[in-house]
């Protein structure tokens, strides 16, 4: 087992553990922070799989922006930061079964398909190479994405305003 592999396994363990805590913690703010850990660990995995640019984006967008948003949202909605008795819905047993099924099913699928393959990491995803691919091959998608972001922005504004004017 090489060093990258060992690091990857450690990061994986961290990611899974923190993910479980993120969805399971009764402390909402803790949960948000465990999410940061998970996302960070995944960013580490990206680095190990030569996707350097994505790792940075992951850290910037997720850890930097999304989680902050989440925490703000928690605060703005005055969500109880302490432990909450009815933290999960009645749907929980079904959710657990489905989560487990999803994991097992996907794992079985990938094991069936890719158990002999190895990643060699010959072609790193640097900013230059990704940008090249992006603007050579995926221009339409990229342009559409820009409209999506604008629309989402407006949508978010409209939605939040509609709630306020509802009173």
């Amino acid at each position: 087992m090489s060093l990258p592999e060992a690091v990857f396994l450690i990061l994986s363990a961290v990611a899974v553990a923190s993910a479980v805590l993120a969805v399971g913690s009764h402390q909402l703010v803790h949960a948000a922070l465990w999410l940061v850990v998970t996302l960070g660990a995944v960013a580490g995995c990206f680095v190990l799989m030569t996707a350097e640019l994505l790792a940075w984006v992951q850290v910037l967008v997720y850890v930097g922006a999304v989680v902050v948003l989440v925490v703000f949202a928690l605060m703005l909605t005055r969500s109880p930061t302490g432990s909450q008795s009815a933290e999960v819905t009645r749907n929980r047993p079904l959710a657990a079964v489905l989560g487990l099924l999803a994991t097992v099913g996907l794992a079985a699928t990938v094991i069936a398909g890719f158990r002999h393959e190895r990643i060699t990491g010959r072609l790193p995803g640097t900013a230059a190479s990704i940008g090249d691919a992006l603007f050579r091959e995926w221009v339409l998608a990229f342009e559409v994405l820009s409209v999506v972001l604008l629309a989402a922005l407006v949508a978010a504004i409209v939605i939040s305003r509609s709630g306020s004017e509802n009173r």
Binding site: N91, A102, G105
Partner: protein, 564 residues
């Protein structure tokens, strides 16, 4: 009174027309020697107005027209005060027309139409007094039973049409003559079924006595001269299509033998004059069939004509008696000899003819029947010799019984002490006289076979003597009771079969209401349940929806993987 005469006139016109038409045909070629030449085959049904009147047809037509005219005259008195006289009289005319159609036509469908129209007319006439329960029941029974028999004729026409490619009777004859009698057994037995029903032979005999609640002139018309006789006539008419078939002839012989004796015995024990005469009719019809079975259809037709005359006379006379006494029960009669003299004398002739006493026409024609059966025992006809012998014996026994019951009825009706005074309307006695004369006149020129005549007269006299000896006493109990109950033969037809059918029908109805609907109802229930289930998921809880999506994704993945 006046408004009744138009119907008589109408009948008379028809009768005269028939006479003008039929009388010249009386002397034509013999009934069965005739070979027609022009037959045009058709596949699809075609009615044609073609007629083929042969001497025997002419006789039957004249009989029918004559009796109908007399009945119509008679009815002006008998039914004169009836509220529904008009429909009654018109139905009689329709009846006559139908009978003529049956007799004269050359087209099987016209024959069938006439045949069935007669059935319906008889149904309506039997049920003329539909306020009475027994009229309704008798009418319905007559209709259903005869229509059951009619199926035979219907299917026989199907078979004839298919076999010979024509619906012309003459055409079929030609076919049968050219190609031999094909499907003779099937056609013969089917026609036999039809005539057994129409002519009230065993085992479909029971409708006829139950038809007696109808007006008596109708009884005379239907049960003497027309409808029941039509059975004999049609069987004879179609004989060329199956006359050589041993099975058919044997079956016919068996039916006629059993019927003639049984019906005569039933007549012997009746306590009701009209019902006794009805059984007598059944018995006499069997004679005619016996003659046909013996291969002498013309003899059968002769007996038909003679029977038509004297039985019409007897029934009409019976009507006068009932008109006078108010009932047809023999116990209420007696001593009418003096109070109804004209009726007495004419009915005496009638009874004599029934019993076969010389010089009435009944004597001659019955003898010819006996003689023809005797001839058949020589084994030269399709009828097996043994069967012919048995039939001959039964026929002679029946002669005895017939004479006995004729004597008994005569005695019970007319002899004894006179009761109160009665009237005989002239329009009722006139037809009686006419028929009485006919009973004697028709015997003019009839041939006579001395051996048979001697034997039959002997047997008949023995029967008369027997009746005289018993007087009005019943037969010994063990014989009397089952015979009076008509051996329970009626039971299956009036009780078992209807009850069984109704029972099955109730089951079918219940199944139809509740059972067959299982699939739509079950489907509706299932649809309701599924609908509720689907809608029950719409709780408004988003995570349930998301779970449904997740579960659904699993399911469709499974479908995809399994399909792969």
């Amino acid at each position: 009174m006046i408004r009744r005469w138009p119907y008589v006139a109408l009948t008379a016109v028809v009768a005269v027309a028939v006479a003008i038409w039929a009388i010249p045909e009386l002397d034509q070629r013999a009934f069965f020697g005739y070979v027609p030449t022009n037959a045009t085959p058709t596949m699809l049904p075609s009615l044609s107005l073609d007629t083929r009147v042969l001497p025997d047809s002419a006789k039957v037509m004249l009989l029918a027209a004559g009796v109908t005219l007399l009945v119509q005259v008679y009815s002006t008195a008998y039914m004169g005060k009836d509220r529904r006289y008009r429909s009654y009289a018109l139905l009689i005319v329709l009846f006559l027309v139908a009978m003529i159609a049956v007799v004269a036509t050359d087209n099987l469908f016209v024959l069938l139409i006439g045949w069935e129209v007669m059935g319906v007319c008889s149904y309506l006439l039997i049920g003329h007094w539909w306020e009475q329960p027994q009229s309704r029941a008798g009418a319905m029974k007559a209709l259903v039973v005869t229509r059951f028999g009619d199926l035979g004729l219907l299917v026989a026409i199907v078979v004839i049409g298919q076999t010979y490619g024509t619906y012309s009777i003459t055409g079929a004859w030609v076919g049968a003559a050219d190609q031999g009698q094909q499907h003779g057994t099937a056609i013969g037995l089917l026609v036999l079924l039809a005539v057994v029903g129409k002519s009230a032979q065993v085992p479909l005999q029971t409708w006829l006595p139950d038809a007696m609640p109808g007006p008596t002139p109708i009884t005379a018309l239907i049960h003497a001269a027309t409808m029941v006789a039509a059975g004999v006539y049609v069987f004879a008419r179609l004989l060329p299509l199956y006359g050589n078939d041993t099975t058919v002839m044997t079956a016919l012989a068996v039916v006629s033998g059993v019927t003639m004796l049984l019906a005569a015995l039933f007549a012997l024990v009746q306590h009701d004059l009209k019902r006794a005469l009805a059984w007598s009719t059944v018995s006499q019809l069997a004679y005619m069939f016996a003659a046909i079975a013996a291969g002498a259809a013309d003899v059968g037709i002769s007996h038909l004509v003679s029977h038509g005359a004297y039985k019409a006379l007897l029934f009409l006379g019976c009507g006068v008696v009932m008109h006078a006494v108010g009932t047809s029960a023999l116990s209420a009669m007696g001593g009418l000899r003096t109070t109804l003299p004209a009726t007495f004398w004419t009915m005496t002739i009638g009874f004599a003819a029934l019993a076969g006493i010389i010089p009435t026409v009944g004597f001659f024609t019955k003898d010819r029947v006996l003689e023809s059966i005797h001839v058949a025992t020589h084994g030269e006809t399709p009828l097996p010799g043994g069967v012919a012998w048995a039939l001959l014996v039964v026929a002679y026994v029946t002669v005895f019984v017939t004479a006995a019951y004729a004597m008994r009825l005569w005695m019970l009706t007319f002899l004894g002490l006179p009761s109160k005074q009665h009237v005989e309307p002239p329009s009722m006695t006139w037809p009686l006289v006419a028929l009485g004369v006919a009973c004697l006149a028709l015997s003019i020129g009839e041939p006579l076979d001395l051996d048979t005549a001697a034997l039959s007269t002997l047997v008949a006299l023995a029967g008369i003597a027997f009746a005289w000896w018993r007087q009005d006493a019943d037969l010994p109990g063990p014989v009397q009771r089952p015979l009076a109950a008509e051996l329970g033969l009626d039971h299956p037809i009036t009780r078992l079969i209807p009850a069984g059918t109704i029972g099955v029908a109730r089951v079918a109805d219940a199944a139809d209401r509740e059972g067959i609907d299982v699939y739509p109802r079950g489907g509706a229930v299932l649809a309701g349940l599924v609908s509720s289930a689907v809608r029950a998921l719409q709780t408004g809880r988003v995570q349930v929806y998301a779970s449904v999506i997740a579960v659904g994704a699993f399911v469709v993945v499974l479908v995809g993987v399994i399909a792969r």
